[in-house]
Amino acid sequence: MDKLVEAKNLVTTFPYYGKRRLTAVDNVSLELRRGEIVGLVGESGSGKSVTSMSILQLILPPGRVEGEVHVEGMKGNMLDYGMNSKEARSVRGGKIGMIFQEPMTSLNPILTVGEQIQENVITHLGLGKEEAKARAIEMMKAVGIANPETRYNEYPMQFSGGMRQRIMIAMVLAAEPEVLIADEATTALDVTTQAQILELIKDLAVTRNLTVVIVTHNLGLIARYADRIYVMYGGHIVEAAEKYELFENPSHPYTRGLLTAVPRLNDRKDRRLIPIAGMPPNPAELPPYCKFYDRCVYREEGCKKGKAPMVEIRPGHFVRCCLSVEELDAKRAEVEAQAEAVPEKHISNEVEIEVKNLKMYFPLYRGLLKRRVGDVRAVEDVSFTVRKGETLGIVGESGCGKSTLARCLMRALEPQGGEILFQGKDIAHLKERELAPIRPKITMIFQDPFSSLNPRQTAGSIVGEPLKINKLVKNRDEYDARVNELFRLVGLDPDYRSRVPREFSGGQRQRIGIARALASEPEIIICDEPVSALDVSIQAQIINLLEDLQSQLGITYLFIAHDLSVVKHISDRIVVMYLGRVVESSPAERLYENPLHPYTKALLSAVPISDPKVDAGRERIKLLGEVPSVLDRPHGCAFSSRCQYATDHCRSEVPQLRDMGDGQKVACFLYNN
């Protein structure tokens, strides 16, 4: 296959303290061949985005790129031309197009989308205005935008996130590039939208013989879409191979670690995640020897001697490790034997919390006098029960009402209707004073470990605050002892009590958040997306910690997340929500084996499994359109507008949850007989 782009020994540095420079990309060599889909995978700080931007010469001074970039059809090293040269510009956008992570901010808000697509056509294809417009409209049609002629004159804010990403793709492809780099292009989107966009990219790649680079942290996406994979860590490419080869024979300790750290949809229920110890690398503080040394379970003294070379262990399979394949494989059994068993759970038959027909509406005001014109029905008629000691997972895409539900259960909001029975007592409409004894029993862990901790409070006082507020300790000594105990419980050194949140890493901060939630000895902890802001290797640490705490303390969890693999891993039962309603509830295993509701099926099929062989054998269900706004929820079944089985019955009447046996309930007319 012919090489379209080849990068050799790329080194990208940025100024750091004084004269020192930090190396974000360290000696990276890679090649892109015509028509293939390449995955570039790594955690934050691995240098994957900087690598792709370096190839395009998008690194602005004082950042500096050294090495060689060769592009087919261009003479010599592209880096020698300089970033603003005619040659570099003709490659950038013309030969290699790039789409970025944030569809909300990556388009210019004050130019129409048409102008922005047209701009690319005029720059690279040299067409006149009218022809460029025709081409832009044709491209909008190709990426699946309805009424492109009218939408041509609309502004980015008139498009949803998924549609904006389509516009980005249309814009980039309008200039007929041969390579498309998608830098975390679908990370900010909902899972079903993500699947739509990636399928679109894949189809376009085939029809246009396009080379695609998918830059991501998500192993599942790579397993489903890529042909060849580069794994990056600490600015290095640590492993490179064809997809099947890589997933069958992962060789670098980091790749192996990643694969066992990430929960998968097809995991057995009792699989314990094996986290990668330590923290993701900070590019400013990397050792001069193997970057992964500090976190590596295979490490030996010899690894510290110098940088490991890239070795071809099998044809087309490269690994950068000081140990040989034989050494690595010999150690593998030893390493994997250390995996712990999943801690035992104690689920009693006692009902801890029962929600009956919960409704939460937000008023909608309009006009000068702020007249109430309607309601946003964020949570509508939601019922479920949670037993003591179990974990109930709540999944759904953005806007499905899962966070509002959490806030109602916390009684941060007072629901409009329905009951919340906590240990048999309805707390839905209690006054603040009556709630006081219940507050410490229900606590919460938040999504963002950065903004949910007060930056000026010390870690100790953050964790100790609930003790003081709820008067759970008698004196200073008791307080200190309890705070220290909580720190140890979540795996933090009590010596860190006087530090402020800024001095902790993301994972450590989430541990502080967990310690705070544990302080008042709660019966229930509501975890609202507790791991979604963390790097994959850290996610496993936190998930394991939550599992351990549950088995030690017998806490009940309500685990809210959009990541189905994580929810399935940790939950005993799962509730699937769509636009404020529960569409299905089921034991976790059963939901994966036998999903009933069409939405659940689509949601499951949109989540790729990080094992290409298993993933290839799964049924794919494509959804029509995007999640509608809660404001214009379709009549009848909320899902009817996107469901391929929808009948007139579905569009006129709301289906109720029906018991299907084995603890599974579904709200769908398909199962009415």
Binding site: N84, R89, T105, I110, Y155
Partner: protein, 314 residues
């Protein structure tokens, strides 16, 4: 969109009504005697009583406000206590001068300030940026009257290069106009140029950091096009919002500058009217200023509407 415009116009009218009431209230609460102000202190107690009633000072303030507002709506602002002429005529002579100064000063300071701001932003970190930003910070922190007095002393009194006072409209005598206007216009616009320059710089730098600029760069556009189409258009939108506030600032500044350079404008008139308790003039001056500034804010919002599609879409 039409709704938005009507809404804004309604708001402007409401503001003017509220300002008119507050002005009336404040002026009438002044601890000065209007009867003495109008007729001098050499009047008998009987005359004083009669005149007090004639000026309706015995009536409640709301009644007097209603009366005044009705007359104003008919175009009758009252008779100046000091000039014994209808207020409309007195103000008419002066407002043109102030309006001319304010508008010309705005027209000078905005384009110039924006230009300097763009230069500092595009050349950020280079010497052009360092020098211009330092100058902008320096002049921005000097009050207009200090600059005016120092300049007057240096160029008009010591060097005798320019006249110290007076004002002529350009259509009456152009060379004389230029010689007279240089100093006041410089003092009036300096703060504006510096302020606009600083704001433009930070707004441009904000725009340069945006993701869509990176997108533009990834399209392979020329650096020039990126700055013009993507950075400048976004970066200059917030500058438009400054026009209203700047104009208010300039009208305030012209009070001092008119006084220092003895320009017969509304600023001079206003200060005179306060000193001589010329209530009708005072009210009219404040109302005119409020009207000018409200209209400036209205125009600002309408401009914004034209430039930023996001507003009309909401």
């Amino acid at each position: 969109m039409t709704r938005y415009i009507l809404n804004r116009i309604g708001q402007t009218l409401l503001i003017i009504v509220i300002v008119s009431f507050l002005t009336f209230l404040l002026v009438n609460l002044m601890p000065k005697d209007q009867v003495y102000a109008l007729y001098g202190t050499d009047i008998s107690q009987e005359d004083y009583e009669i005149l007090y009633k004639r000026l309706n000072l015995d009536k409640p303030i709301l009644y007097r406000y209603g009366l005044w507002a009705r007359n104003v709506l008919r175009g009758d602002w009252g008779i100046s206590y000091q000039y014994h002429m209808p207020v409309g005529e007195v103000i008419g002579l002066k407002i043109g001068v102030t309006l001319y100064l304010s508008v010309v000063s705005t027209l000078i300071s905005f384009p110039l300030g924006m230009l300097l701001g763009i230069i500092t932003a595009v050349k950020r970190g280079k010497w052009q940026d360092t020098v211009l930003t330092l100058l902008a910070n320096l002049t921005n922190s000097l009050p207009a009257f200090v600059v005016a007095i120092v300049m007057l002393y240096l160029f008009c009194i010591k060097r005798k290069l320019l006249p110290t006072s007076g004002f002529t409209f350009p259509w009456d005598d152009f060379p004389k106009h230029i010689r007279q206007i240089i100093m006041p216009m410089f003092c009036l616009s300096l703060g504006g140029i510096a302020g606009v320059c600083r704001q433009t710089r930070s707004s441009m730098l904000e725009a340069i950091r945006q993701d869509y600029v990176r997108t533009a760069r990834s399209k392979g556009l020329q650096e020039n096009t990126i700055v013009k189409r993507h950075v400048m258009r976004n970066g200059l939108v917030p500058i438009i919002t400054l026009i209203g506030g700047r104009l208010a600032h300039i009208v305030g500044g012209s009070m001092f500058v008119e006084n220092v350079f003895a320009i017969p404008g509304m600023g001079t008139l206003m200060i005179q009217s306060v000193n001589s308790v010329d209530v009708p003039i005072m009210q009219a001056c404040v109302m005119m200023t409020a009207l000018m500034i409200s209209v400036a804010y209205l125009v600002t919002d309408l401009l914004y509407l034209a430039v930023d599609p996001r507003i009309s879409l909401k």
